[in-house]
Symmetry: C2
Subunit: 284 residues, 2 copies
């Protein structure tokens, strides 16, 4: 039984009222009116939080919608889309997309900076499933948009939570996510066009590579490095060591204090890809 | 420790020999030469089978490479790609893609056939993590390319394995995957251009919807319905009931006999998407 999914099942039944081939059996065997009662209270729960695998784990969606008005590191690299066929005109619906690999919630794979490095299609699948750690630097980022994750931040996290686990994805939470809908606020360029947003520091990246056995890192901003970086130390360190980096991550606060949190980096196997748009899902 | 990952870590260290910021500490604490010895024997293991989350579960990659020469249901809908920037010319590497949503290993979401149905960006994330069941019809598909999954096939699976679990993705394995690299053999059109490949039968789809509480279905062919279908009964039934369908699935034999197999449908949150390319990963 996946009884905690009652709200979702009921919502689905409601949404599909009157559609062909619909059975009420699943609804009825969950308790009919009683289930509907639960649903009324539960429909307000954000969709990104719900149970998966039939009640084994809770899912948190760490992905922004991949849309045409999203902020990008380089202006002009947001995706575009158009109807290819539609239900009304053709009987079924398909969009056509044009996209650059480093837009939206997406992965950087070694080949993005390292000539001859692994590409997405040959990157080991098992490395896409990681333990999740969130380093919260939102307090200092609120004061300083050039704030970065330091070795001291990592050590402070370990003092409170124990050693960063093997096979972890270590995420920076800077609070930058709240600016996502405002391209200019998210990119935050100064008068000279230099962007200012938080990221990892090079020393912290090197410490993670040298001292811990991580799978990769992630940030809630446009770049693993701070926006003002010109040397891309973190990109070179992380990708040079065969790790992945994930940019534009959402909803990281939902993972805080969850010692057993895990993430799945659902990146399509983009042929010879330098990285690419992905679905990032957490299990807590 | 994620010690079963030694082979992968060593391979990574070897691949990164001499690169900047690389530490040997992780390698050394795994046992140095001994680890290297294990690696020699393990390097031949296919990449799609490895441990995730630091040794908790085994990963199977159910995804084909998303490339430019793949078979598509409608000719001309394979993706295209081009270098946008390169490490050699620009210091970093990004490709630009043009794609249609129903190419490669991909998901069908209700809006693909149902006007007003859920799109990818608002489809509940928790439904993307499912229990996995594989119905093997490869024997009859080898004799008849129009073979379909029947209610009897589902009942036979249940007789051997117990009831299909709640929250399952039910996959058809027809053996068609072996034709993937040959567009014409995979599409298998007759003299009139009508394709012939296996799929679900409409009665089996309706039975799953009415009698079991599934999340969706999947096939190792180009369509949930058989290639010769003109009525798309399975698409209408599955998508009309709010379920998902996954097409062009790979490596399903690795899930057979695995009672606790689970799948993660890693589909980017394509804005107003009818479905789209995804990473399909199984945990066994």
């Amino acid at each position: 039984m996946c009884s905690p999914k009652v709200a979702e099942v009921v919502r689905e039944r409601i949404a599909n009222e009157g559609r062909p081939n619909l059975s009420r059996r699943g609804f009825l065997r969950m308790g009919g009116a009683a289930a509907a009662g639960i649903a009324v209270a539960s429909l307000a729960i954000p969709q990104q939080k719900a149970m998966a695998y039939g009640n084994l784990e809770e899912v948190v969606d760490l992905s922004h919608v991949f849309g045409t008005t999203i902020p990008t590191y380089t202006p002009g690299e947001a995706p575009t889309r158009a109807d290819h066929v539609t239900v009304e005109a053709n009987g079924f619906y398909i969009q056509k997309w044009e996209l650059y690999e480093h837009a939206g919630t997406h992965v950087d794979i070694p080949a993005h900076f390292i000539a001859g490095g692994d590409t997405v299609d040959n990157y080991p699948a098992a490395k896409l499933l990681a333990r999740a750690v969130v380093i919260d630097i939102s307090a200092k980022a609120a004061e300083d948009p050039d704030a970065m994750v330091t070795v001291q931040d990592l050590e402070a996290w370990e003092s409170a939570n124990g050693e960063i686990p093997e096979c972890a994805a270590v995420f920076m939470y800077s609070g930058w996510e709240s600016r996502w809908a405002d391209v200019d606020a998210f990119r935050n360029p100064d008068a000279d066009g230099v962007m200012h947003f938080p990221g990892f520091g090079g020393e912290a990246a090197n410490w993670l590579i040298a001292e811990r056995n991580i799978f990769g890192i992630g940030v809630d901003t446009l770049s693993l490095d701070i926006g003002a970086s010109t040397t891309f130390d973190v990109h070179y360190a992380i990708l040079g060591a065969g790790k992945f980096g994930i940019e534009n991550v959402a909803n990281l606060t939902a993972l805080m204090g969850k010692a057993d949190a895990k993430v799945v980096v659902g990146v399509p196997r983009w042929e010879e890809g330098s990285g690419g748009p992905c679905r990032l899902l957490a299990l807590v």
